[in-house]
């Protein structure tokens, strides 16, 4: 029995790649997708990637790990990754599962993701850990 694994389309906008996952993500699909993506980043020398997960309603530890891997490897190739469209239910589940996606910057939707990516690429040079922003804290006055 041969498996016809659907490939996820990867588009190019400006010097970024945009991939929107619209179908159920089987493990094999996910792994092929990761390989395709990394190949495309290499071929196009893309500076960034927007990964849209609007249609995904389950992200388990395995998928989260793949996303983290994509971000890490893309980073090694000089591309920044922004994940967009995480559903609230998925975000809550990920946090409760205790899974962290290190190195992944997120935005609410595709449009905000592209804006974010443009900004990040513009101030690039020394972006190392874009997962969490540093801020000042102000422990309250007595």
């Amino acid at each position: 029995m041969t498996l016809n694994v659907p490939r996820i389309p990867i588009l190019q906008i400006e010097n970024f790649l945009v991939a929107s996952i619209q179908t159920e993500l089987h493990d094999k699909t996910a792994i092929h997708f990761k390989d395709d993506l990394l190949q495309r980043i290499y071929d196009t020398k893309a500076r960034g990637l927007v990964l849209d997960l609007t249609a995904i309603d389950v992200v388990d530890s395995f998928i989260a790990r793949i996303i983290g891997d994509v971000a890490e490897m893309a980073g090694l190739m000089g591309a920044l990754v922004v994940v967009t469209g995480l559903q609230p239910a998925v975000a809550i589940t990920l946090v409760e599962l205790g899974v962290e996606m290190r190195g992944v910057v997120t935005a609410l939707n595709l449009e905000k993701g592209i804006v974010r990516l443009r900004k990040l690429v513009a101030d690039d040079s020394d972006v190392t850990q874009p997962d969490v922003r540093l801020g000042e804290t102000d422990p309250a006055h007595p």
């Binding site: 609230p88 809550i92 905000k112 993701g113 969490v132 801020g135 804290t137 102000d138 422990p139 309250a140």
Partner: protein
């Protein structure tokens, strides 16, 4: 806006004649003065003075006050964009009056004429300042700045609203484009914490929020469980690309958060709601400025 046309009462044409005959002397004095006040070259000042005098004389001659007011207002509007302050404008008006009076007195003129001159110049100034503030309003709207008092009002309204919130609800309130406040009142147990997190995320999606301010001022006991839930909520929000700010955290709670191993670099905190709102607005490149325009109409005429 056009100032109302008034007929000057006494000898306008006479005053106009006097001014015409002493225009050169007056001009020299005004040029020196205005160049200094406006920090412009003598050439520029000469042009400005001569134009103003010509318009003043025209206005006196014809009795139509807008002959002075309108051009002056237009000039002021243009100058406002280059940074002219209303205070400088008033000083110009004062200078014009003073120097003209000197000339009239020197010419043996009747000082009752002065009153009308002052009125005329005053009208022009009012028109000019109004034009300036209009120009500045447009500028301000473009840079989207807020008066501090408005931010304080927002915080006050929020505090009033919080008092009305019952323990079981956790509404999310939009205070500005892309800025939400989540006020928490009362004790927070595990199941409530989960509901709060769910409501917050749904609110983030529906309002497209970039920043959420979580206000725990109304939570009497912020223990380790509550802190853990808050941290989870902040993490979940950040997965949606939203920044969070915790406000109302006392020093004791902040300490216990550190002991719990909470990375305070991940979670921003501010002392009170107003600071939280200011932080949020600044993070969105919105400015908070103080209100500073004096009320001009009281000072003139």
């Amino acid at each position: 806006m056009t100032p109302k046309k008034t007929k000057l009462k006494h000898g306008n044409k006479d005053l106009a004649l006097v001014l015409k005959s002493h225009q050169e002397t007056l001009s020299v004095q005004l040029v020196a003065d205005w160049a200094a006040r406006l920090h412009i070259s003598n050439q520029e000042a000469t042009l400005l003075v001569n134009t103003t005098l010509a318009q003043l004389i025209e206005a006196l001659d014809s009795g139509a006050t807008d002959r002075l007011a309108n051009p002056f207002a237009e000039w002021a509007r243009g100058q406002a964009e280059k940074g002219l302050q209303a205070e400088s404008l008033l000083r110009l008006g004062h200078s014009l009056c003073w120097n003209t009076w000197n000339v009239i007195e020197g010419a043996g003129g009747v000082t009752t004429w002065l009153r009308e001159l002052v009125d005329l110049i005053a009208l022009a100034q009012v028109a000019a300042v109004k034009a300036m503030t209009e120009a500045r309003d447009v500028q301000q709207r473009q840079t989207l700045s807020l008066e501090q008092s408005r931010v304080a009002d927002m915080a006050q309204a929020q505090a009033r609203l919080t008092q009305q919130i019952r323990e079981l609800s956790s509404p999310v309130i939009k205070v500005w484009e892309e800025v939400l406040i989540l006020p928490l009142v009362g004790s927070i147990d595990s199941s409530r914490a989960t509901r709060v997190m769910e409501d917050l995320l749904l609110g983030i999606v529906s309002h497209q929020a970039e920043i959420v301010i979580i206000d725990v001022t109304g939570v009497p006991v912020v223990d380790t469980h509550v802190v853990t839930h808050l941290v989870q909520t902040v993490k979940a929000a950040s997965l949606l690309g939203t920044q969070s700010v915790l406000v109302g955290i006392s020093a004791e709670v902040a300490l216990s958060m550190i002991h719990l191993g909470v990375d305070l670099n991940e979670i921003k905190t501010r002392r009170d709601l107003q600071s939280g709102i200011e932080f949020a607005l600044q993070a969105l490149d919105l400015q908070v400025v103080s209100k500073d325009m004096p009320d001009i109409e009281d000072e003139v005429g």
